[in-house]
């Protein structure tokens, strides 16, 4: 049974499942079957707006105080009956379209995003999705409706990777659009200027959001396991190419990449941002587990 469960999260197995919904469900159900279901904490009844009563509305929702003021019937609208609003920000730049063996970073990130959305919605929290490259490609505001997953998955499936990454600027833009505090989950390879990325993330933090960064990387990006003379062409910048024998730079490359990761981790930590480095070879349950651990 343990082996069977393990298969749920194996990226190679997931890569064989074309349906994202099925993939997300499989991951989450697999995960949830192994943990105790926790009770929802509290019940959020945050007022959102008034609207005029129309026949069919529940009588108990009529705001009697407003009737006294305006002599008209108003119904109190509550945003969501949830204790969390989560924004899943998915990097859909061209650099995400890379797989050294099996699943691309984008597919992995999509599955992760979908799984998180499913998990969040299943826990009756609100989940929204933003996909971006060097601009916002799709913006699905968070909702706590159970059937909202369909819209999220639709947004994810409709968009393939492409364009250059500009994480810093995009985070700035998105931070401007998000009015209410919540949870920000960034799923990206972070191949941008670290200072810009962190500046964007800090914007969320300033506004009181919690932030989780899933740094998705292919194992080849971490280890550079190639041999022979190779001309490396960048997936985003067409004119960026370099010829080398990876054996000669492997150690240094690993040093450089580890320094980059360590720097990101440290900066995130300093700004109370939860940072998770996820290799596409890593089973998805570990990524979800890190979310669950944050969620408490």
């Amino acid at each position: 049974m343990a082996d069977g469960r393990k298969n749920y999260f194996d990226p190679k197995v997931l890569a064989g499942i074309s349906n994202l919904a099925l993939r997300a469900r499989w991951v989450v159900e697999g995960l949830m079957s192994g943990v105790h279901k926790s009770r929802a904490k509290g019940f959020s009844v945050e007022f959102e707006e008034h609207r005029e009563y129309s026949p069919g509305d529940e009588i108990r929702r009529i705001d009697w105080k407003a009737l006294g003021k305006f002599d008209r019937y108003f119904i109190k609208e509550y945003e969501d009956e949830t204790n969390l609003r989560a924004y899943l920000l998915l990097d859909a730049s061209a650099s995400m379209n890379y797989a050294s063996d099996g699943i691309t970073k984008f597919d992995y990130a999509c599955t992760l995003t979908a799984s998180l959305a499913y998990l969040i919605l299943k826990q009756q929290d609100a989940a929204g999705v933003v996909t971006f490259s060097n601009r916002v490609e799709a913006f699905i505001p968070p909702r706590a409706k159970r059937d909202y997953l369909t819209q999220i998955l639709h947004a994810l499936e409709n968009r393939g990777p492409g364009g250059e990454t500009n994480v810093g600027k995009i985070l700035d833009d998105i931070a401007g659009q998000i009015k209410r505090r919540g949870l920000i989950i960034l799923v990206s390879d972070l191949l941008d200027e670290p200072a810009q990325i962190l500046k964007g993330l800090r914007q969320f933090r300033f506004k009181g959001n919690d932030v989780i960064v899933f740094h998705v990387m292919d194992p080849a990006e971490l280890n550079l396991p190639f041999d022979g003379n190779i001309l490396f062409e960048d997936l985003e910048a067409a004119n960026l190419r370099v010829m080398t024998d990876p054996r000669t730079i492997r150690t240094t490359y690993q040093q450089v990449i580890n320094e980059f990761i360590a720097d990101m981790r440290k900066q995130c930590h300093d700004n109370a941002i939860d940072y998770q480095l996820i290799s596409t070879a890593t089973p998805l349950d570990r990524a979800l587990a890190s979310y669950l651990s944050w969620r408490g």
Partner: protein, 698 residues
């Protein structure tokens, strides 16, 4: 200090040293393209490591190349040698020691060079191990010597002791050829050591192309016998006769040319002339640096025949050959009977006056090669011709019968007859009495005014008696003579030796038996020509006289160089016989006489020592041919030149043979040989380990 290889053929493997570089270049050409997201990190890594990486990369390439080089060198088995390197390690040695025993070794290293060379050879012999073999060869060889490699040191030492300095130049071609022949058998190590003074003359004659056998893999090590400082260096270049002939008791002028090879003036060198072992004359001479000086001696020889002589130099510290020999063939007096057909009270008016003075200019007995006796025609009947070599008839009108018969008999037996015409001569009498003895039929006399005299148009310079006119002064003098009276003559099939401008013959010759008859169609005095007043008259008369007396005999032979062949030409009748040659060391050799074209020839090749060689000819040969009975053999002049060949010139001359020059002092210091195989193996292992370690770092 040098390195040589036991198996140099493996060195071709050094080409494999280029393999790592070729592989490196081929790898660069195999390029794979990969699209990758984190290229900027690759760039960053490359920048960070580029310097140290490049260093490691080239270091790795160098290590791989070095590994191949070390492996190839290891297979070739190098031997490191310090000093002159005696033999230790590297397997059994086959060694040929060439000892320069050319004449120049006499003066090398202040006269000690040859001894030093022998000591060096002795040292080499003593350093041989039991399984080594060696041969000892002097450079002055013919190449036909029977020599073999041997391991008995005592035999080699005895052979070494027996080698002496030769009088000739080193025959390096024959010596090296012999050495290669000896070393053609398989051996662990093969070497040729040439102990030499590097004399330029020997190497001037050497050419690798002339070697019939060469093995460039066998190194030639030259052990150089040096000089402390440049000595006075000169020798006798040439000895020649100053005058025309060599006659008994006649003044004899001998000139010697001295040559100075050095940069220092040779001052007051004593030059001595000796003939037949007697010191005749000595002079002091000074020879300028790199220059020449002539020294002239005046002397006489008292006896006819062959004489041996020498010119020698005496000067403290003079290096170079100081003695040069020569031989003289002195001619005895020629007795000439002059018949004056028109004697006068006044001698000057006599027909024979100018002729007698031409044969004996000083008029004293013994001062000339010729001893003329003048008689008048009346004495002809009682004249005995036997004591004379030549009879000259000057304007003798008629020939008495008995005298004519005697005269023809005299000529047939080898006597010479010279007939001058004149106004008294009766052509018919001559034509009748001398019949076939005359070279032409005499005809009428032709006379005219002096101003209309004919000049000489042409003369036969190839004739032995007329070769003196190759001298332009004498030639011009003869051509300027005018002939206004002469007897016309019809040559009997003979071309005139001298002709007038109108084509009439002036001088004709006829050979009768063993003798000769020369007819001059003009007079001997001034009656018909002005020839007696010309410079050409005396040499013409003397030359005709010598020719009629059997040819020019008195001469000087400056000799032949050591090891050069001496040829003696004899009449054809001596083919199949032999002559005996006695060398200066009293050693006799028989030389066969062989036929060559229309003559018999004896070629004497065994002239390996300087000095006077005596020849005993077959009976009768000396009289018939005038062949020499002695000849001189001299040391080669250039062998006295102590100039050395430079190391660079030598190596260029010996290419492709590997040559190395070692000072003789280095040999004395001993030296050592080390087999480099083990150190190379260690180096190879270290290189491979370093390569492996460095290769892991990439």
């Amino acid at each position: 200090m040098s390195v040589f290889f036991l198996y140099p053929a493996f060195l071709i493997g050094l080409l494999a040293a280029s393999l790592p570089i070729l592989i490196h270049l081929l790898n660069r050409r195999k390029l794979q393209r990969i699209q990758f997201p984190a290229v900027r990190f690759i760039l960053l890594s490359q920048k960070r490591i580029s310097r140290s990486y490049r260093l490691r990369h080239w270091l790795l390439l160098a290590l791989r190349t070095l590994a191949v080089v070390f492996l190839v060198l290891l297979l070739a088995n190098p031997i490191f040698q310090t000093g002159a390197g005696l033999f230790a390690g590297g397997g059994p040695v086959s060694l040929v020691v060439l000892l320069d025993n050319s004449l120049s070794m006499t003066w090398s290293s202040d006269g000690n060079g040859f001894k030093q060379a022998k000591d060096a050879a002795r040292l080499l012999i003593s350093a041989l191990n039991d399984d080594d073999r060696a041969a000892l060869l002097p450079t002055n060889i013919t190449g036909k010597e029977n020599v073999r490699l041997k391991s008995q040191k005592d035999v080699l030492t005895r052979e070494l002791d027996a080698i002496e300095i030769a009088d000739g130049t080193a025959n390096l071609t024959a010596a090296l050829e012999k050495a290669y022949e000896l070393l053609s058998e398989p051996a662990g190590q093969k070497e040729i050591r040439l102990i030499t003074d590097m004399g330029l003359t020997g190497w001037d004659r050497f050419s690798v192309a002339a070697l019939k056998r060469v093995d460039p893999s066998i190194p030639v090590k030259l052990i150089r016998v040096g000089r402390k400082e440049q000595p006075l260096n000169g020798s006798i270049k040439e000895i020649r006769l100053g005058g025309q002939t060599v006659g008994v008791n006649l003044p004899l002028q001998i000139e010697a040319t001295l040559s100075n090879f050095g940069d220092k003036e040779i001052e007051d060198v004593l030059v001595q002339l000796s003939i037949d072992g007697q010191n005749k004359e000595q002079k002091l001479a000074t020879v300028p640096p790199k220059g020449e000086t002539s020294v002239s001696f005046q002397t006489r020889v008292g006896q006819a025949g062959a004489h041996g002589g020498q010119v020698s130099l005496k000067k403290e510290g003079l290096a170079g050959n100081t003695v040069t020999g020569f031989t003289l063939d002195a001619q005895d007096k020629l007795k000439v009977l002059v018949v004056d057909g028109d004697p006068q009270t006044s001698l000057v008016q006599s027909e024979s006056f100018f002729l007698s003075r031409a044969l004996n200019p000083a008029g004293e007995q013994g001062s000339s090669l010729f001893l003329p006796t003048v008689i008048v025609p009346d004495a002809l009947n009682s004249a005995a011709l036997d004591p004379y070599q030549v009879v000259i008839l000057c304007n003798v009108a008629v020939l008495p019968d008995a005298f004519a018969a005697n005269l023809q008999n005299f000529v047939r037996q080898g006597g010479g007859l010279l007939i001058f015409s004149g106004d008294k001569i009766q052509p018919d009498n001559y034509n009748q009495k001398l019949a076939q003895s005359l070279p032409a039929d005499l005809r009428e006399k032709k006379t005219g005014p002096e101003a209309n005299g004919e000049k000489i148009d042409k003369f036969d310079l190839a004739h032995p008696a007329l070769q003196i006119f190759t001298d332009p002064i004498l030639s011009d003098s003869l051509k300027s003579s005018r002939f206004w009276g002469y007897t016309r003559a019809n040559p009997r099939g003979k071309t005139a030796l001298i002709s007038l401008a109108n084509g009439d013959p002036l001088l004709l010759e006829q050979k009768i038996g063993a003798g000769r008859v020369i007819l001059v169609t003009t007079s001997a005095d001034r009656d018909w020509s002005d020839l007696p007043l010309k410079t050409a008259y005396l040499p013409l008369l003397q030359s005709l006289g010598q020719h009629l007396a059997g040819g020019k005999r008195g001469h000087l032979d400056a000799g032949t160089p050591v090891n050069a062949a001496k040829e003696i030409s004899l009449p054809p009748g001596f083919v199949g016989k032999s002559l005996r040659v006695t060398k200066p060391n009293k050693q006799d050799t028989e030389v066969p006489i062989v036929g060559e074209k229309d003559r018999a020839l004896a070629t004497i090749t065994d002239n390996d020592r300087a000095g006077i060689y005596r020849v005993v000819l077959p009976a009768g040969a000396a009289k018939e041919s005038g062949a020499p009975q002695i000849y001189a053999v001299n040391r080669p002049f250039l062998e006295s030149r102590l100039e050395e060949i430079s190391e660079r010139e030598l190596q260029a001359k010996l290419a492709p043979i590997r040559a190395e020059v070692i000072p003789i002092e280095a040999l004395k210091e001993g030296g050592k040989r080390t087999d480099l195989a083990l150190p190379l193996l260690a180096l190879l292992i270290m290189t491979l380990l370093a390569e492996g370690w460095l290769g892991q770092r990439f």
